[in-house]
């Protein structure tokens, strides 16, 4: 803070904040002329707090309803309700739930919902709050100014500091509040005076100070741990953890900027989020809880590997997810129906709770606890298939992601799921195309493919979409599966299949056909050699000629030669056939018989 700015802030503070006799207004906090001390001051704070017991936040879920707040303690205890018209999203701070209401900041006991204290908000809204087990650290702000205020357990104002800089979400421990600001600093402020005891300079974006099970972390895109190495943050050597880069539906964020107040009204961003908790692995390395984090997309939850970002599990809930938290292992999530879902790190449902009414959003804290393991949920492929089945067509982005992930799985049943998706009228056309693309690349699940090919459009039986013949033909051709030949040959002459699918089937038959398919091939050639009217069909006829020549002996050669000579044969087909004929070695030297004409060439199948 410049001298002039500090003076102005001091005057304003004297006017606005000096209403409590015990308040001490710091004139040293958030100074802008601070020089990088290479971590010396923050190291001193670390040293000072070393050995103090960890103070986790209360394990509680708090929902915003039309009538106010509802809370459910996670360690047991009754659901409580607090009638109110909150003007900020509540913060869980130690054993308190703190929020703005009218001109006040109100603190409730997290276990009961009973009011602990209330202070004048000075016209500002609560941005975030923390508690060190005794004293609360509040950040109040509007668009022009931010204020740090410490509040005793009885509701008395203690130290405070004001700045024009936007302050972020605070944390607190052992009489010190940690307040991020200017996206690069975390000021360690004495709760009693507001004076700055130390400052952390980071080279990564920081707008949140967070309490996970009593351990403190700072960051936004990723988190650095408040420990002995945090002093090296200015040279990027602090213990740091971040999410892998993953292209997820709706592009969810983990921690949105803490430098502005969270919107009170839920929007799409409320429902598209990432929940992750840092934890210390047995090796001492900083990881994300139990190796998994989750992303929500309306009512879908994706469980993702914390290192690779690969989809580990998926589940759908009956209603949109509007808040929650990650535990050391597992997650607590609430939906708009007010139901609270506790899932283990594999997505298994360990427990559910009920907030008792519909909610617009919720905040939750699991403290240092883990969600106990639930019953296993079966293979990921089945989970994806189930989720796709449960989703409405307007969830296309989630469906697209799931289909893409499905294609990465090697399990044979995935092939069956892709077949069903390729033929499902329930999913959007572009997704069906993607499912077909992935199906064509499958190298296992052959029996599922053959069973699918055995089906045809059948109005009487209610089969109103043909199977994905083209992708199946490609996949089976690539694996050299000759059992597919008779099935593909039947599909050649089924007009319910698209011309493109037929072309792929014909192409596959060049490789897979046996003499048993001669009749179907010959019929197709006869029907379309002179009537093919699009590119795909022309390609199919030419491929069919190739297949005929490979399996049909003299009779086939006669059929194709006749097609090549007949002026009625479609132009492109006619031009291509000589090439096909010359490429195929004659089965037997042509021996024209006396009196035989082109029109009298044999059409009978080979024996």
């Amino acid at each position: 803070m410049t001298g002039h700015g500090a003076l102005a802030a001091g005057c304003l503070f004297a006017l606005c904040v000096g209403c409590s006799a015990s308040t001490v207004n710091s004139s040293t906090a958030f100074a802008r002329d601070w020089q990088n001390d290479s971590g010396t001051s923050i190291a001193a704070v670390v040293q000072r707090l070393r050995g103090l017991p960890l103070v986790p936040n209360a394990r509680v879920v708090v929902g915003l309803t039309e009538a106010g707040l509802v809370g459910v303690p996670l360690e047991g205890g009754s659901r409580w309700a607090y009638p109110s018209k909150p003007s900020s999203v509540p913060s869980i701070a130690g054993n308190l739930v703190i929020f703005s209401e009218g001109d006040h900041v109100v603190a409730l006991h997290a276990s009961s919902g009973a009011k602990a204290w209330s202070i004048d908000s000075q016209g500002l809204l609560l941005r975030g709050a923390a508690n060190d087990g005794t004293t609360s650290a509040l950040v109040l702000a509007d668009a022009h100014q931010s204020q740090f205020v410490a509040v005793s357990a009885s509701g008395a104002r203690l130290g405070s500091a004001q700045t024009e800089a936007a302050l972020g979400m605070p944390a607190a421990r052992g009489g010190i509040a940690f307040v991020p600001w200017s996206e690069q600093y975390v000021s360690a402020l004495e709760l009693t005076s507001g004076n700055e005891a130390g400052r952390l300079l980071t080279r990564v974006q920081v707008s949140h100070a967070l309490n996970y099970g009593g351990e403190l972390y700072f960051g936004q895109q990723g988190l650095m741990r408040f420990d002995d190495k945090v002093r090296f943050a200015s040279t990027n050597q602090a213990n740091h953890v971040s999410l892998p880069k993953v292209d997820l539906p709706g592009k969810p964020s983990w921690l949105v900027s803490g430098l502005s107040n969270a919107p009170l009204t839920a929007n799409a961003r409320t429902k598209i989020r990432i929940f992750a908790a840092p934890a210390t692995a047995a090796s001492g390395a900083l990881t994300l809880g139990a190796g998994t984090f989750v992303a929500s997309y309306f009512r879908v939850i994706f469980g993702l590997d914390s290192l690779s970002g690969a989809l580990a599990w998926v589940r759908t809930l009956p209603a949109d997810i509007v808040g929650g938290a990650a535990a050391r292992s597992g997650f607590v999530l609430c939906d708009t129906n007010g139901k609270v879902w506790l899932t283990d790190s594999a997505g298994g449902e360990a427990r559910t709770l009920d907030l008792g009414s519909k909610i617009s959003q919720c905040v939750a804290d699991m403290g240092a606890e883990s969600v106990p393991a639930a019953a296993p949920r079966g293979p990921l492929a089945a989970q994806i298939a189930g989720a796709l089945d449960a989703l409405e067509p307007d969830m296309a982005e989630a469906e697209r992601y799931l289909v893409r992930e499905l294609g990465k799985l090697p399990d044979p049943p995935v092939t069956q799921t892709l077949i069903e998706l390729s033929s499902s009228p329930r999913i959007p056309p572009d997704l069906r195309i993607e499912a077909r693309r992935l199906l064509a690349l499958r190298t296992n699940g052959t029996d599922y493919m053959l069973a699918a090919l055995a089906r045809h459009y059948d109005f009487v039986s209610g089969v109103l979409l043909p199977p994905p013949v083209g992708p199946l033909a490609d996949a089976l051709s690539a694996s050299g599966e000759t059992r597919a030949a008779p099935l593909l040959a039947k599909h050649l002459n089924d007009p319910a299949n698209s011309a493109d699918d037929v072309a792929h089937a014909a192409r596959a038959l060049v490789k897979l056909a046996t003499p048993a398919e001669y009749e179907d091939l010959r019929t197709f050639f006869a029907l379309y050699r002179a009537t093919a009217d699009d590119e795909a069909l022309i390609a199919a006829v030419v491929a069919c000629a190739e297949a005929l020549l490979r399996v049909g002996g003299d009779a086939a050669r006669a059929v194709v030669e006749r097609g090549a000579q007949d002026p009625l044969t479609q132009g492109d087909v006619r031009r291509a056939l000589p090439g096909v004929l010359s490429k195929a070695a004659p089965v037997a030297p042509p021996a024209p018989r006396a009196g035989e004409t082109a029109g009298a060439l044999p059409e009978t199948p080979p024996k």
Partner: protein
């Protein structure tokens, strides 16, 4: 009205005793078979079309194999359409084999023409092709196939016809009216009130006009009674048409019942 006349024609054609078919002439001096063969194999569309015209005019069944050969070889759409049509005119059962693949041609016109001709060339192959066509993705073809199955007396297709009847294949009603037996007829009559009258209508007249035990009198009487109770203009018109076209050798009980129903009398002993 035209539809009703057609249905009556269909009914009478199928149900009344038939005169012994005239033996096809052994020889048609007007048709040069060898010349027709050469024309059809020429690859000259105009020449082939002309030959087909001559064959159609002659109605010489001996030319059917020439057309069959053309169909087996394949040809342009124009030539195929004509060949399929003439094959139907000649009505030789041997042509069904050559025609049947065309019910699955990708061109809707070609496959519908093939289905129409199969109703004339007849035989097991024709019936199977039309049953397959009933399962296909072409709505118009399904209608043509249903009609054809009725024409061909394909009683084995009745279960499939029941499936497609409520699925926008009203032609199935006429076929069921012609083909149903015993409980099938009862089931058909039971659909009155569940399906629109317009969908069912074309099947009632053939059912009422049928002779023989396949279509039992109690079912016919139930139908007459239901039509009477409907008391709509269309139902009355249908009964009037049935009475007017009732065959002289038809069952007098049914004729009397139709007449009674038209005068508002119950024919099943229920309300009057």
């Amino acid at each position: 009205m035209l539809q009703r006349v057609a249905v009556i024609g269909l009914c009478l054609g199928i149900l009344l005793p038939r005169a012994a078919p005239a033996a096809p002439p052994d020889k048609h001096p007007s048709l040069n078979l060898e010349g027709s063969k050469k024309a059809l194999e020429s690859g000259d569309e105009t020449r082939a079309l002309s030959a087909l015209g001559e064959i159609e005019q002659s109605q010489d069944g001996r030319a059917a194999p020439l057309i069959d050969a053309l169909l087996v070889r394949g040809a342009s759409t124009k030539l195929l359409m004509r060949a399929i049509e003439v094959a139907g005119v000649l009505g030789q059962p041997s042509s069904s084999s050559a025609l049947s693949p065309y019910t699955k041609h990708r061109s809707p016109e070609v496959r519908r023409a093939a289905a129409r001709s199969l109703a004339h060339t007849k035989g097991r192959i024709a019936i199977q092709a039309l049953r397959d066509a009933l399962r296909g993705s072409d709505p118009a073809l399904r209608g043509t196939a249903a009609e054809g199955l009725g024409t061909l007396g394909a009683k084995e297709a009745v279960p499939d016809l029941f499936v497609v009847l409520p699925k926008e294949v009203p032609e199935a009603a006429a076929a069921i009216g012609v083909l149903c037996r015993g409980d099938e007829c009862k089931r058909f009559v039971g659909l009155l009130g569940k399906l629109p009258f317009e969908v069912m209508e074309s099947g009632f007249l053939p059912l009422l006009l049928r002779a023989g035990s396949d279509a039992p009198n109690p079912v016919k009487l139930e139908l007459i009674e239901q039509l009477r109770r409907l008391a709509t203009q269309k139902a009355s018109a249908l009964l009037q048409t049935a009475l007017a076209s009732y065959p002289a050798e038809g069952d007098p009980q049914i004729r009397t019942a139709i007449d009674a129903a038209l005068h508002g009398h119950s024919v099943t002993g229920g309300e009057r």
